[in-house]
Symmetry: C3
Subunit: 400 residues, 3 copies
């Protein structure tokens, strides 16, 4: 995109019905910045100077453009089409981050490479200016301070700026009955990328379908939380040094935790992975994931013996038993939460190179005396969320 | 202000009773920055080095200064008086943005010219640094995510920074009984401009009377929302290409909507304007506006036929029927809200060049299938709010 | 630290049991930035390139490091030790700001010197870039808009960036039962300094003990609010021109106000200070402070005659009677609040050079007609909070 600054331009207007082809340097065309965030196949950007058409400077879908262009009232004056073939970077086309399933092994590796570079940038006191001039809107329909701060820190570490809505559900015009789509159409006019947390499954996908700028799903209800899944896999690779051939014990609430479900999904993309499920009876891993793993040739087994699993695994991934899922049955909750605790005894059973992970917040499912052990990786894991989010923001806004 | 860097300076102190006149280069005087935000006639800035007088570096009114100077305890050491006559830019003196009524036709044109320039800046990826080093405080006593994000985006697109209070009513010392004036005096010490939303009519005027820095009214209760009025007029000019001679249909809740009232007011400044009022009986335009328009020679009529009005108008300005105004009478609300809907049929009646506007949020008073039509201008209208706010921030902070 | 870029480096690993000493230029070591925020004696920074140890790049205590190093699994590759002796600036070692008691007279003077320099920076329109690339997290477990805006303005006036949590108590994972320590460990991964307001006394100390980055206490419940205490003393020095030998009248709620208690404490560090306590019977200054003052040789007396005290003092420090402390006894509150009002009569009794101070917000314990008098110092006092906080942020992040 940057290498060659010549584009062939397709100019049309109501007056001139037969299109003219011309060469323009990139800078010649005014609205260059916002459009490229979502390249449309080979078509890299669209520029319309009319006051009517595309003044917002954004267009989400080529089909949408075409629909406009064939209608009466076309006032688009210039339409850039990139002459060059797609670059290597374009092999991993990333428009939005909506769900863990959208990433394959190669793209994960590419993202992890960028994330590793971010570790150095974050340590540099001058700060990076990679995203200088870019604005991220954090549209949080339910509060999640940890996730919000992580994204906002990522944006600011790269020199970008942030517009924050900490409690969009209560405060925004959503309360007056505005649709999510309308909100997105307004917010995309004020920003370059939207990070959205929502209480409804599928909300992120709807937002991305509407927005002409990239959308990152920061959790949509019981649905997806893809950046958490990515940081989990990234942490395993950074801590253990490999992903193929690893043994992972998933412990705790496996029925309700979306993190363990997403992690199991992503681990299926690697070779010779073995997964152990260790959970109280009431919150066992559901059959859909088990069947999916089997179909992908991933070995898994259920176990009630945390010590034995701990002794075999490279990663013990502990999770919080979520009280809110038990309703009136406090007795069941109390029974479940005390059952599998990662403590000094578990540490003793674990191998020297193995690590303990946890998506946080933790209550007492990992005892505090574990924190001092070098194998306690959960705070490094939280920090890795920063690097992953820096990487995604960079790739979505300025490319690989 | 920048052209000539020589000012005649009026130096006084308790010791020297007869003032001395001297020439100083601008930089010689320390507190140059904050003061000029509100020039006091020809007096351009006041600089006092005493620890007692004006340490905050702000002074809202020349009278206030005079009162101080004639009192005991005068410790002001230097008082700049600009030698030069006011520049062309100073013809449009803008200290605060409080109400639509403060703008005349010439000043609107001048602001719109600046706003047009902002459209280019917003598209430039490097971002503007026009307001680098300036801090805007968004003091919102009632939430309005859309308006807040628009102002904050405007400030950041120009390189400025923002201090946010999303819910000042609940959180701030207002809850402990502090007056608005005291809050303003504190906040002006932390920022260079205040954007305030308040639940009480007249609050913005009180804030501006207190503050030594510019205040922008972002809506004060049932009172004014001047930046909305400006962006509406700007949108009409950008979409239709003119303001003189236009025909505008105001539709929906004309009794409670402050946007339509302000818009009607501002349109009276242009020639040969014709306004149609189309609204359910219970929310008709009030007599004060009708009488005002008549007194200004603006033609207007009421109509119950949206299709006929749509066929004649350059602008169909739809508004939301505000449920909260109907209290217990849900039946009246339901009747009112269904009465005038902008849909495909209305589009068919409209002329090719005409546009549909709406201040947003919309519910179903414009059907979603209208969105795809090039004449649906409401999201571009929301975006124009960004340009108008960028323009106002620039003019208030660094001048024309 | 900057003068010499050579450090002697202490390299260790599991493989090499005997340490090697080598010389490295500073830049050779990657994680230079975050560590120096809390120098550990002469040891200036620690750098570990292992993926396991210290990846977060922070280490709060030398003991903590040592504990790690002597454990199995040491993977630290390099350990910098500064060759040079501590500089003059290091005489005033400042790691965190937790309580007023941590400051002695010399350090207060040093901070005030930096604060005075900040007054010039704040007036410079270009803005300082001293803290460019640094991120401050404002972690507010209870709302305090005034204090939060003051800190955020301070950070931004120095070119730094801010992550905001306006209502951490309600929103954050604290609601799910996460400990403060865990929250701090996460947030320190996203930022370079934490400004925390909490509802529990001692919370700031706990946070500082956990964090590897500086922590500033912005008020912890009934405990401390050290930056308020510093700005009060700074204001007295700026307004009166001295601290030794001053006479201060503390008026109003002396039982519950933490500001007057902290101020009394700090004033004991100066010579020949005289303090007058003027308060309704129900909210008299408690014995612990009186005894402390006596033990330090500070003269104090209680008085019921505000006019007489006002005529003698350099500073009349008025405070708000806190209604919330009276519970059901509204009668006692009403009696207390009306008893000592600073009004024009008090002004007349005061000396020309004396000033009225107040921590704000004020209700009617200072009448509004006092505001116009040059001796009304309370809004300048609020502004001084900005300079003090700018100074503290600068010293904690980049040193003296």
């Amino acid at each position: 995109m940057a290498a060659s600054s010549l584009f062939s331009s397709y100019s049309m207007s109501m007056e001139v019905s037969s299109p003219k082809i011309a060469q323009y340097p990139v800078d010649y065309l005014g609205c260059h910045r916002r459009i490229p965030s979502k390249p449309l196949g080979y078509l890299n950007s669209i520029c319309c100077t009319s006051s009517r058409f595309l003044r917002n400077g954004k267009l989400s879908k080529w089909e949408k453009a075409e629909r406009f262009l064939h209608k009466a009232g076309i006032r688009c004056q210039a339409l850039e089409i990139e002459a060059a073939p797609p670059s290597v970077g374009q092999k991993f086309q990333l428009d939005d981050v909506i769900e863990a399933q959208q990433f394959d092994r190669d793209m994960l590796n590419a993202i992890f490479d960028v994330a590793k570079g971010m570790e150095n940038i974050e340590r540099n006191s001058a700060g990076s200016q990679v995203l200088k001039g870019y604005l991220m809107a954090t549209l949080f329909y339910e509060p999640s301070t940890r996730t919000r701060l992580s994204f906002e820190s990522a944006m600011k570490r790269l020199g970008g700026e942030v517009l924050t809505t900490e409690n969009a559900r209560e405060f925004s015009s959503a309360a007056k009955g505005e649709t999510l789509e309308d909100t997105i159409r307004t917010v995309e006019g004020y920003s370059d990328i939207i990070v959205m947390r929502h209480f409804e499954s599928g909300a992120a996908k709807r937002a991305a379908a509407t927005a002409g700028i990239p959308v990152i799903n920061a959790g949509d209800g019981p649905g997806q939380h893809p950046t958490q899944a990515l940081l989990d896999v990234y942490t395993i690779e950074r801590e253990v040094g490999k992903l193929d051939g690893i043994k992972v014990g998933l412990v705790g609430d496996l029925a309700n935790g979306r993190t363990v479900r997403s992690l199991a999904y992503l681990l299926s993309k690697y070779k010779d992975v073995k997964i152990y499920f260790v959970s109280p009876e009431v919150v066992k891993m559901k059959d859909d994931i088990k069947e999916f793993l089997t179909s992908k040739g991933v070995k898994w087994e259920e176990s009630a013996d945390l010590m034995e699993v701990a002794s075999k695994c490279d990663v013990v991934y502990q999770t919080r038993i979520q009280k809110e899922r038990f309703g009136e049955r406090i007795d069941l909750y109390e029974e479940a939460r005390g059952k599998y605790i990662v403590n000094q005894n578990v540490l003793k059973a674990m191998q020297k190179h193995a690590v303990v992970m946890h998506p946080l917040p933790r209550l007492d499912e990992i005892t505090v005396d574990v924190d001092g052990d070098p194998r306690a990786a959960y705070f490094r894991q939280a920090k890795n969320g920063l690097y992953i989010r820096m990487a995604l923001l960079k790739v979505l806004l300025v490319g690989w």
